[in-house]
Amino acid sequence: MKLTSISLTLKKERSKKYRLIQSLRILSQTIFLFLFFYLLLATHFTGEDYIGSVEIFFHFDPLLALATLIASRAVYISFVFAALTILITFILGRVVCGWVCPLGSVHQFFSFIFKKGKLLKPKDNADNRVAWKYYLLVFILVGTLFSLDLVGIFDPLSLLYRSFSVAVLPALSHGFEATLGLLYQINVAFLADSLNQLFENLTLNSTFRQGFFIGLIFLGLLLLNISKERFWCRYLCPLGAFLGLISRWNILKLKIDEQKCIECQLCNIHCETQASPFPEEKWKSPECVYCFTCSSICPTSAITFPVGSTPESIESVSLTRRKLVFSSLLSVVAVPFFRLTPSQERSSPKLIRPPGALPEAKFLQKCIKCGECMKVCPTNALQPALTETGPEGIWTPVLVPRIGYCEYYCSLCSQVCPTGAIRALTVTEKIKVKIGLAWVNKNRCIPYFLGTPCIVCEEHCPTSPKAIKLIKTEVTRPDGTIKTPAAPVINTDLCIGCGICETKCPVVDKPAIFVTSIGEDRSERNQLLLPLLKEDPEIFE
């Protein structure tokens, strides 16, 4: 058949079977995407002390499993589910990328939108940028050998979850608030009230210091779909690369019926991930995500994926040894650069980790920067780090008491952490964990410098007996008169560093009481007093 004979009538010869499979694939993507978002929204305080496995998606991710295993030199049992993903990929190829991965679905959806909007015009110009993701994978894995764990920055699930918990959902919640405000203005208070109560129940955190930048990165990745369909999956995704590497022996291989094929190139043009279906010998099995676009778009039903067919040769992405060595070396060289930070030598005062966080070195080996803890925190206290612990710890969680505090009877962040970077704690265990220590800035504290009563920090201190005690203190006021207000002092033994005093301090800009990381249980070095000098806490009873 000649190319010129393609006509609309040929559409009838498209494979019904593969069009059905394609619909099933879209259904599967939709279901998993919804499941992902459902679990995302379910990651909040529901009234129970303990939350179910809302972080389960991460445990099916073999890249996270492998990187965490190597970086921390420890097995984290929840990652057994990743074996299932490996098994599926081994047998069926990268179906997980095409049928399950929520980030893949998001990218495919936006590619679809951009195609419809004529912003993206698919072309058959295969290039070798598909190799990038393999080099990135090598870069990440070589780093983990030196316990430099950067996997969370690039892992698709981490990336999607972080983008949503820190940027997209907060932005939506701001939009929602604005809509509510509008509803009140146009006097439909009844509707607005109900919506507000619903919203309050979801406890969406809306304040994130780096929300803008994390959102910008996510937006940028989405916009890259204008240049190439599923740009991320095609060129960048290290998990895709990993699954590609283990998929080459799978049993689902593409077959083109040469009798039917009219060499129209539609399959190559519309291939989601540049697996180059035509000609058959050039098809790259490790690049195929089994979206079945080629087989369902083929005007003559020439493309099939028969089970068990063994093609003569498997074409892979051409990775040059030179570049593989180069990316490994780059990783090796990068390791010390990531550690030039002073936090290696001395704990940063602002590096207040959530309760249950492992000692800093271990923590950095395990934290995948996914943002689960930031999503579940009921007070919005946990924020993505920027400089507190050096470039290695970017986007790891730090508690910022000026934004929120650690709720005394809450241990949810420790429960949802997918890698155990924050050790799972019961509430009874959690209330004993010190994450820092409060300090009074007497130059700003209202009783200390004005002699005016306040006591707000003491009132909010959740421990019993309270770690903040009030002592009558003689104060010379600015006008020279003398007052003896009750002023706060800290019991260093009782203070757990939850930060509610700093959150609630009525000196609203720079607080008169603040928490620093010293005294945190997880560190041997970051301590104030030797045990010998500790006072008896009973004196504060």
């Binding site: 507000n196 301090c505 609203v508």
Partner: protein, 294 residues
């Protein structure tokens, strides 16, 4: 007028005057009801009954707002928030009294959802048929309070837009006002940087209580927090006191509440001040208190 008629009239008139209290239901209710016993729900019912029943306070078709203390992420046993059974019973009573709608709301210190759920109040009040509302910042409005000190402050408009308000605080210690009872509870109706009110808390409490002026104050002293208030924490901070006080004079309620902590009302600066300014009675011997054990 004949003399006979005149005498008849006088007799009849005096008869009517004599019967007047019964005829016009102008009963002499006690100032305070002080009920003691084991069952918080029953105590609540008896306390309201001692003042003449809910009908005295709630009229048919009223929208009633009940203001408990839901300030802290604590369980009922820890006695930092009002007993959920007390709140529940008040909701039931209000509805029995003919209220069209009962709202329960507070602006907590800890995260709202945690306090509402863990205090048990949200569930209990909902069960009884109340509308339990999280504080909604869109409903904050600067309201002229016309207090001596507080001229205006952001208030949740739910507190303005109801027919009747019932204040149902819990009795706890507090390091600035010594005790937090009924009058302190109104800080929970406010938004803004309300922690600044601590700079002159006594005056703030007086201004707020005078502004909100509940039709009934019911002090929950079933469990009282005798130490480490207003949050407590340990069960040893809690004393099982098994008492509920009801009254219209909110100063008197707090005055009686102070005695549960062995504090004389006159030793409480805010009560002394409130009394001086004529907001209520703190001399317990001048109050008619109905004491009952059930």
């Amino acid at each position: 007028m004949r003399r006979r008629d005149f005498i008849k009239d006088i007799a009849l008139g005096s008869l009517v005057l004599n019967l007047k209290p019964a005829l016009f239901a102008q009963k002499n209710f006690p100032n305070l009801g002080l009920i003691q016993g084991d069952n918080p729900a029953l105590l609540t019912r008896k306390a309201v009954a001692s003042l003449g029943g809910i009908e005295r306070f709630v009229s048919r078709g009223d929208i009633v707002l009940i203001k408990p203390n839901i300030g802290w992420d604590r369980t009922p046993e820890q006695a930092a928030c009002t007993n959920p059974q007390v709140v529940k019973t008040l909701v039931e009573l209000s509805l029995e009294g003919g209220a069209k709608e009962v709202k329960v709301i507070d602006n907590p210190c800890n995260q709202a959802k945690r306090t509402y759920l863990r205090s048990g109040i949200a569930e209990a009040a909902k069960q009884a048929g109340a509308k339990v509302l999280f504080p909604n910042k869109h409903r904050l409005k600067k309201i002229p309070l016309n207090g001596e000190w507080l001229k205006e402050w952001p208030v949740f408009t739910e507190f303005i837009e109801v027919d009747k308000m019932i204040n149902v605080p819990i009795a706890k210690t507090h390091s600035l006002s010594r005790l937090t009872l009924g009058m302190k509870n109104w800080l929970g109706a406010l938004g803004g940087n309300r922690n600044q009110l601590h700079q002159s808390l006594d005056q703030a409490m007086i201004d707020l209580a005078a502004f909100f002026k509940p039709c009934l104050t019911l002090l929950d002293a079933y469990r009282i927090l005798i130490r480490n208030g207003p949050q407590g924490g340990r069960l040893s901070d809690v004393k099982l006191y098994k008492t509920i006080v009801a009254g219209v004079d909110y100063v008197a309620v707090d005055a009686l509440g102070a005695t549960f902590f062995d504090i004389k009302p006159h030793d409480m600066p805010y009560l002394r001040l409130a009394h001086q300014k004529g907001h209520g009675e703190i001399n317990l011997d001048k109050l008619n208190i109905e004491k009952r054990t059930v």
